[in-house]
């Protein structure tokens, strides 16, 4: 019974979280904290912190966290499955349609209109992360509060990426390790 409830709740989260990531948070909170009371608000805040500190989408992280707490590993698996299933069906349907109709002029037109949007979305997400790295908490306060180490790491990282085109993961890890050394000395 608890498995079914978990599955259905995360099915809803998977189905209605459009726009990904942070857009899904209010819905998760509503279902997990208020409706089913599987987590307290403090535990929910902790969950968001963990989700930000670890890889993986917030929805999947919540599914695993709540599932484990409520019904062990089986619960985590069921909740994750519920979360992924709607995406799976919808994305595959759209992908099929894309490959059947992609040569139609009108589809070409729609996709032509969407390409600049995709770039804009990535730019917007990138700038938000940049601001969090430079100022913390996602807000520009004053130029004086800027974290110079973060700016330096960013510029070096960008330079290396442009110049040598390495695997981006090495740049991320490299910045992390240099940051760990310097931040823990200060």
């Amino acid at each position: 019974m608890i498995y079914l409830k978990l599955f259905l709740s995360f099915l809803q989260i998977g189905l209605f979280s459009i726009g990904g990531g942070y857009a899904a948070m209010p819905l998760i909170q509503q279902l997990i904290v208020e409706q089913n009371q599987w987590l307290t608000m403090t535990e929910f805040t902790d969950l968001i912190t963990i989700a930000e500190m670890t890889p993986g989408p917030i929805a999947i992280n919540s599914a695993t966290f709540v599932g484990t707490r409520i019904a062990g590993l089986g619960g985590a698996l069921i909740a994750t499955l519920g979360c992924v299933l709607p995406s799976f069906i919808i994305v595959l349907t759209l992908a099929k349609l894309y490959y059947i109709y992609k040569n139609l002029t009108i589809v070409q037109g729609i996709l032509g209109g969407l390409r600049p949007v995709v770039v804009a979305m990535i730019a917007s997400a990138g700038l938000s992360i940049l601001i969090t790295a430079f100022w913390g908490e996602g807000k520009i306060t004053s130029i004086l509060d800027i974290n110079y180490l973060a700016v330096g790491l960013f510029l070096i990282g960008l330079f290396i990426l442009k110049k040598f085109k390495p695997n981006p993961i090495y740049v991320m890890l490299g910045c992390g390790i240099i940051g760990m050394i310097i931040y823990s000395i200060i």
């Binding site: 695993t64 940051g179 931040y183």
Partner: protein, 190 residues
């Protein structure tokens, strides 16, 4: 069959590896996927990649998962998409299961939080690098309307927090309308 197995293994390994390093939200995985599937493996064309991201972005659910489903489908059909999804979901599933046991100790560790703070700058550099390359591609097309839509969509999301679904609907509609109109004028000329 043997060739298929190898393809599936590469797909699983790539998505698992990428997902394990996707700190900071779904959009981070897209530059990594582009690098792996478009630049290194040459499995997908750059323009097709942008179309697939648009589909992943306009479907419900986590962007990283949606992107894996569609890349997997493109590379290895339905089995490919199942394998790519599994590869993407496993790292967070394993990591969160472990962390939920040791959460407090993990959060209060100075080295862990310093490492994560440093990685933020690296993540920002990776995304900005991809944005510069992609925006350069759009600008080189020299279609004024594309450039206006790119800047407009950026202002709408970043400064005004407009729901992504509306932006996608509006820009898709503008794209369709413009192509149909061009088609008509072209026919008239003939």
């Amino acid at each position: 069959m043997k060739k298929n197995l190898k393809l599936y293994w590469t797909l699983f390994y790539s998505t698992f590896y990428l997902s394990a390093f996707t700190f900071g939200g779904g959009f981070v995985i897209i530059p990594l996927m582009k690098k792996r599937f478009v630049d290194d493996r040459k499995w997908i064309e750059n323009e097709e990649m942008l179309d697939l991201i648009a589909i992943a972005q306009s479907s419900p659910g986590a962007i990283a998962v949606n992107a894996s489903i569609i890349m997997g489908y493109r590379i290895g059909g339905i089995p490919g998409s199942l394998i790519a999804t599994l590869g993407t979901v496993l790292p967070p599933l394993i990591i969160i299961s472990i962390i939920s046991f040791f959460y407090t100790a993990f959060r209060d560790n100075t080295y862990v939080s310093a490492l994560l703070k440093g990685m933020q700058s690296g993540v920002a550099a990776v995304i900005i690098d991809v944005v510069l390359t992609m925006a350069g591609g759009i600008i080189k097309e020299k279609r004024i309307i594309s450039i206006i839509m790119m800047v407009g969509a950026f202002v709408a999301t970043f400064f005004f927090n407009v729901n992504v679904a509306y932006i996608i609907l509006i820009c898709g509609a503008i794209g369709a309308f413009l192509t149909l109109r061009e088609e008509k004028t072209r026919r008239r000329v003939k």
